[in-house]
Amino acid sequence: MKNRLKVLRAERGWSQADLAEKLDVSRQSVNAIETGKYDPSLPLAFRIADLFDLPIEAIFKKGE
């Protein structure tokens, strides 16, 4: 799955640690999701979407 997490985070001037804190996850989690090494569960994907006030499909897309 591809995602725009890094771009969306950068647009808001947040570090990975900032985003991790807002999502209540580890910085490793944010890093792994951003680099495409880990696809988040649906509940976490919803939390990410809620945080950026975007639909899930605007953040995550199908693909390697």
């Binding site: 640690a17 209540d24 580890s26 490793q28 989690s29 988040p40």
Partner: protein
């Protein structure tokens, strides 16, 4: 929870590990001391022999509790990978050893290196495997 050390599940795991390892050392010293002085006889010998095993079993429990209590799904996934690697590694080594012993190619017994030892070693190797395959994000 931006860094792993602030993760409550990891903190509880570290404390449990410290307590269990301390208990292991103390109980092992006690058991060895009792046996050396011939104070361990009858059913007491069985109890003393099993005492050091209890904290080791406790470490298995602590690892499984970490899997249950870990709220960070990515860190939990890393730990699951470590445990699977450790299980595979321990089964691999002990099976190879068993069959070499079956044909008398190596001495019988485990010389103090039982399945638990290889499982714990496998946990370490599993962490290394996570690091190699997932990069920086592969560290718990």
């Amino acid at each position: 929870m931006s860094v792993t050390t602030k993760n409550p599940a990891n903190r509880r795991y570290t404390i449990r590990l410290f307590v269990l390892m301390t208990a292991y050392v103390l109980l092992l010293i006690l058991a060895k001391w009792m046996f050396k002085r011939g104070l361990a006889e009858g059913s007491l010998a069985y109890v003393l022999a099993l005492l050091p095993a209890m904290p080791i079993i406790g470490v298995f429990w602590a690892v499984m509790r970490l899997l249950v209590e870990q709220t960070d799904e990515y860190l939990r996934m890393l730990m699951v990978r470590q445990c699977l690697f450790a299980t595979g590694f321990a089964l691999f080594v002990t099976t190879i050893r068993e069959w070499l012993q079956n044909f008398d190619l190596i001495a019988a017994g485990d010389h103090g290196f039982g399945a638990a030892f290889f499982w714990f070693a496998g946990l370490g190797l599993g962490a290394l495997y996570n690091r190699i395959t997932l990069g920086e994000g592969g560290c718990v």
